[in-house]
């Protein structure tokens, strides 16, 4: 287990010192993006990995947070008020989302969330008086924290990193808590949990709210990062992309979302500068993950590393086990 701790400590160190070794402001921004999408992916992972519910509509919730922030700011609200409004709006929206979507599970859940995401996307396009349609809403300035402006890439990165680490900590507590255990129980054996007296729907509903909260936080970070929000960010493609991040990184793990987010963001933004067919590359990587590491990048890599470092005898014993 200590190997894992060393790896985590190294990773933390790398993240804390990132602006010094990534090689320029542009790459600091890339890492910020990775962290923002990682928080988004963690939100989706709560449902996908721990509750067993695949949502193809989370970009809608992401968008509610981003739009609420942008609209509140352009209405003249100060940053703290805008963020609060956005969080409340997102959780309220998630509650409605959950009440409708939890009528079904499995493919039904996927489809209802897809439809709800599309409806929110349509609203972003049509409700022009509120959202300005496809012209989008600009965010003029980033907030200041304790007098320090977040306008620079490095400052924003550290703020994002702090939020990300907080989100990881909260998720870790969540997963290890009795509620997290009951959620996993509901995922694996809903009927038994019901028989044991657990309120299955209630547990799923609370998980949805938590998921929505994380997604909302990501949306707020996103709109401060790009300083722009338009309906494109709420599209089905966006929802699908974050689901792919979670699955490819390893659903049901704490750091899987980070790995998946890093994979997609790096290929989309960095590799695309060198490879014209980066879309095909991304697709090929997904297929390769399914073939070689179907449980995801993080569990798969852990498994590989563990096998590499074990003695040959121990490996043989492991293979001989039935």
């Amino acid at each position: 287990m200590s190997g894992k701790r060393v790896a985590l400590a190294l990773a933390l160190l790398a993240l804390l010192t990132a602006p010094f070794w990534v090689g320029g402001v542009y790459y600091v921004n890339i890492v910020s993006q990775i962290l923002i999408y990682a928080v988004f992916a963690m939100g989706v992972n709560i449902l996908l990995g721990y509750a067993g519910l695949v949502s193809l509509g989370h970009a809608g919730l992401f968008g509610i947070a981003a739009y609420a922030t942008a609209i509140a700011l352009s209405a003249g609200l100060p940053h703290s008020a805008a963020i609060l409004v956005a969080l409340i709006a997102t959780v309220a929206g998630t509650a409605v989302f959950a009440v409708l979507a939890l009528r079904a599970t499995g493919i039904g859940f996927i489809m209802i969330t897809l439809a709800l995401g599309q409806i929110i996307w349509g609203l972003a396009y049509r409700w022009i008086s509120l959202t300005r349609g496809d012209n989008g809403v600009n965010v003029v300035a980033r907030p200041e924290i304790l007098g320090l402006s977040l306008a620079s890439a490095e400052a924003f990165y550290y703020a994002t990193l702090a939020v990300f680490l907080l989100a990881v900590a909260v998720c870790a507590i969540f997963v290890a808590s009795p509620f997290g255990a009951s959620l996993k129980g509901v995922r694996d054996q809903p009927r038994r949990m019901n028989a044991l007296g657990y309120h299955v729907w209630g547990i799923r509903f609370c998980a949805c709210l938590f998921s929505g909260l994380l997604t909302g936080i990501a949306g707020i970070l996103f709109v401060y990062y790009t300083q722009f929000i338009s309906p494109q960010s709420l599209s089905l493609t966006s929802s699908a992309e974050v689901v792919l991040m979670v699955i490819s990184g390893g659903s049901g793990t704490l750091l899987g979302p980070l790995a998946g987010a890093a994979l997609v963001v790096v290929i989309k933004n960095v590799a695309s500068a060198y490879i014209e067919r980066w879309n095909m590359l991304l697709g090929a990587i997904f297929v390769a993950i399914v073939i070689f590491m179907p449980e995801g990048l993080v569990p798969g890599t852990t498994r590989l590393v563990r096998r590499l470092f074990k003695g040959r005898a121990a490996r043989a014993a492991e293979d001989a086990r039935p």
Binding site: R103, G122, R126, N279, G283
Partner: protein
Amino acid sequence: MSLWLLLAVNSVTLGGLLFLLSAGFSLIFGLMRIPNLTHGSLFMLGAYFGASFVIRYHLPFWLAAILAGLLVAAFGGLIERFLLRRLAGSEQAQVLVTLGISFMVADFCLMVWTGDPISVATPPGLVGAAHIGALIFPIYRLAIIAIAVVIAAALWLLLDRTRLGAMIRAGVDDPQMARVVGIRVSRLFTIVFCLGAGLAGFAGMMGAPILSVYPGLDADMLPLALVVVILGGAGSLPGSLVGSFIIGFLYNFGQALLPELAYFVLFLPMVLVLVLRPQGLFGRPVT
């Protein structure tokens, strides 16, 4: 009023096209419980292949469509045999691999056929419109209805009346038992996937004279297929047929009469149906 009549007829024709689009998805999902998210890309791939056969190699339209369907079916078989088979039951991995393949197919099409849209001429004999009184109905679209009905009937016959169909249904209901009685379930699944993929490719070419062929066709069509299948009841072919026509009506009358709600005419009813009846209109109730 003539507007209503035109919309009504177009509802049926659009329904026919939607059935052709979604039949393959419904088949695969209904029988194999795999949400084949590559479906839109297979539709687009069939359209591109068919367009090339007609424009570059001057093949007749119907031959091009069938060849396109066969090519896509073969491709589907490869996907099933080498990728999907090892993922049985793992829904998340299926989503990942089907979406990954759809990215690759979409980029492949962009690479080969470039980004310019391709218009496919309506097959000779079906060009033009039928004039009934003051109303005008494109003949090709009326033909689509006929083709949709024929295919629906053929699929029903296959599943309900042939030995192959019985074996498929057995393999779906209880694969272990089916294997015990000697049914080669794995091979059947490959056949079903080929059939579903082939239908998608064939439908792509059928739709090409109406929709044209362009990058992004896959992303435009996949949600429609999903709406039809889910509304009709995933896995039920009669459900898909009825679902197609219902969507056709919603689409036509909704867009014409409620243009402010054009974005919501399909998804709002879908949410309503799923909330009230999660299994769709014709699906089996989920316990």
